[in-house]
């Protein structure tokens, strides 16, 4: 088990390094840097001035060196100007001697966002908090609903209940968030439909009410519900045909008891993995829904960073996204082993 975990962790770190390097490479291509220079030093500067700005701010060195700096394994750049030492790790007005030699993600220094004029670490922290609340409610809605639908549908395969619930699941997987969100807003938040909810969730950032938060939560949850319900249904139908279920039925145990006590626990192993692997998908949904409902969480920040060429913020966002994806993969693997005694890792 320990060896398995260590190997998984090693792959995870390697993947994270590769991915952040790719993002670093893509966000630090010459056109991006040129745009950055123009937005920082004035849009009418000449090419030569762009060059010198990049030179001065440490962008004109080899890619690997800059990546190492950003990561915090290479010492930050320093430069003398009019007798004052400037550098990547030296804050304005700080004594160069006191400044740390390394400053990167590993040291907790995430850089400065050029759009929000704030420390990337703090921005991502607050935004992630907001998204966390959203995700929490999505999970609270999505997991029970989808499991109930899946179990009810898989309990008696081919029944009318199964048919109608399966059709609902298919319909919900076929409706991406930007479609269901638009339809939900049009039906529940405009004067043409019923005006029961709010079409934006901006006010939910201060105080969450049912009125302003239900639609975004429902929109994200709907897309996931269908998928998890179908997986639960598949695993439930499989369990229901197992020998021990038949034995229990023949013994005279009531159908409700068979489902609740015998089938349910075994049927829920597969959906666990699926729910964990849904996290990366939710991330996708979160970006769409936060943009649609103007809820300024992590997804909204990612779009702002990407749309405004905010290199440091985009890098920070991708680190978080990648870590979330990899961590859920690891948890789902480990959890699967814990839940399913039949799996043995060699």
């Amino acid at each position: 088990m320990l060896k398995f975990l260590l190997r998984r962790l090693f792959t995870m770190v390697l993947t994270a390094l590769c991915l952040t390097f790719v993002v670093f490479f893509l966000t630090n291509l010459p056109p991006n840097l040129e745009k950055l220079a123009k937005s920082e030093a004035g849009s009418r500067i000449t090419d030569a001035e762009v060059e010198s700005w990049l030179e001065k701010n440490g962008h004109a060195r080899p890619l690997l060196v800059r990546y190492g700096e950003w990561l915090g394994v290479m010492p930050g750049w320093t430069r003398e100007e009019n007798g004052v030492t400037l550098g990547r790790c030296i804050a304005r007005g700080q004594d160069p001697a006191e400044a740390p030699r390394f400053c990167g993600v590993l040291e907790g220094y995430w850089g400065l966002s050029s759009v929000f004029k704030d420390d990337v670490g703090t921005i991502i922290g607050t935004r992630l908090g907001l998204t966390g609340i959203l995700m929490f409610w999505v999970m609270m809605l999505m997991v029970p609903v989808s499991l109930i639908i899946g179990v009810l549908a898989g309990m008696r395969e081919g029944s009318k209940l199964d048919r109608s619930l399966s059709t609902f699941s298919i319909a919900s997987t076929a409706t991406p968030e930007y479609v269901s969100g638009v339809i939900l807003i049009a039906v529940f938040a405009t004067s043409m439909g019923w005006k029961v909810f709010k079409g934006t969730a901006t006010s939910a950032m201060d105080s969450i009410t049912f009125e302003n938060f239900f639609l975004p939560v429902l929109t994200i949850a709907l897309y996931g519900i269908g998928y998890i319900a179908r997986m639960t249904r598949a695993s439930m139908t499989e369990v229901m045909t197992a020998q021990y279920i038949r034995t229990a039925r023949l013994k005279g145990v009531s159908f409700t008891n068979v489902v609740m006590k015998h089938a349910l626990r075994n049927a829920l192993i597969a959906p666990f993995t699926v729910i964990m692997l849904q996290f990366p998908w939710l991330l996708n949904g979160v970006v769409i829904v936060e943009t649609l409902f103007n809820y300024k969480g992590f997804g909204w920040t990612l779009v702002q960073a990407a749309g405004n060429n905010d290199i440091q913020l985009l890098l920070g966002c991708s680190v978080v996204a990648v870590v979330v994806v990899l961590a859920t993969q690891l948890i789902s693997d480990v959890g699967y082993v814990f839940l399913n005694p039949r799996i043995r890792i060699s």
């Binding site: 590769c18 893509l26 010459p30 997987t173 943009t291 749309g307 991708s318 990648v322």
Partner: protein, 391 residues
Amino acid sequence: MEDLGWGAILLGVAKQFLPVWIALVVTFAVSIRFKRRLGLYGKLFDSTIGMIGFAIVMFWVFSALFADLIVTHDTLSQISQMKNKMPGTAKPDGSGWYLLGGDHLGRDVFSRMVAGSRVVIQIAPLATLFAFMVGVTLGLPAGYYAGKLDTGLSFLANLILAFPVILLFYLLVTPEIVETGLPQYLAIVLFLFPIIFLMVLVNSRYYVMPAFRTKVLTAIAVIGGYLYLALVGEVGTKVAVLPNAIDLIHVPGNILIVFVSVVFVNSPTVFRIVRGITLDIKTRDYVSAAQTRGERPWYIMLWEILPNARGPLIVDFCLRIGYTTILLGTLGFFGLGLSPESPDWGSTINAGRKLLTIAPHPAIVPALALMSLVLGLNLLADGLREESLKD
């Protein structure tokens, strides 16, 4: 002229779709008549769900085909009095109606929706096909040989899969990155796979008939090579191989980029599926029999394993077209890739969502269209799965 009521609108829309109805009836009549001779496709008509799905999908395919006959107005012409007008509003000069209303620029929502189906039907299946070619060409050897090759390729696939899709799109499709020609370099790599796939396919089958094989291979190399160079290169961009006189295929730059990124996102999943199936099938007796006969590895992979993996692959193909449609919509929703004037469903939803409280129909119409197409593909996949399991 009077504005139309809801009944008249429905009637008008149904009338516009007349060519589609005719084509649908013909397709179904012919298919049901000969369904016993049509293999898996014929069996589809034994399952209600499959038939419903097929009908919806074909509805949009025919809409895309006959789009020029169906549209009532030009997709870009604007009538300023028709801004955000409700469905069924008559035009100010009395020459007709906007069947499903006008959008924020006074364009006909109905015509744009129909024209949008053409964009989706053109890109989604083709992009999925390309993703399958990439996935199959890499997944088969990874599963068959296993070992280091498998480890390496799987690591790469997981690497791409660990990327949040939207971030990847933002990184690939933004103007700064397009300027560097990166998507085109990706296209150079990805578009090579269909040619490799076809050549290996022919080579492994007709290896014992060298004369015939050489002829077919040359044909593939010449035609495929030309298409490849014409598709990838475009005069005036970073990758310009053929001069303008010979380069007859002009894909608008942004469509190529969207296409490439969709293929790029889809192929790792296909790779994983193909690899998994191959790992399973290669332990079968007929594979050992072929090995004992002394067949070469690629023959076994492409002519023994691949045909036997077709069931799950066809089902996944249908599901994946739906997923690709969703991805294209996502790109449009974020205003990436395709131009804002493009009538594709994602872009129109994006344009319409900003005025949702004033006029919801410009966003609702394409949203429902997209939803129905994806739903149709899902139902079709479900029907196919059920029928293919019956053998």
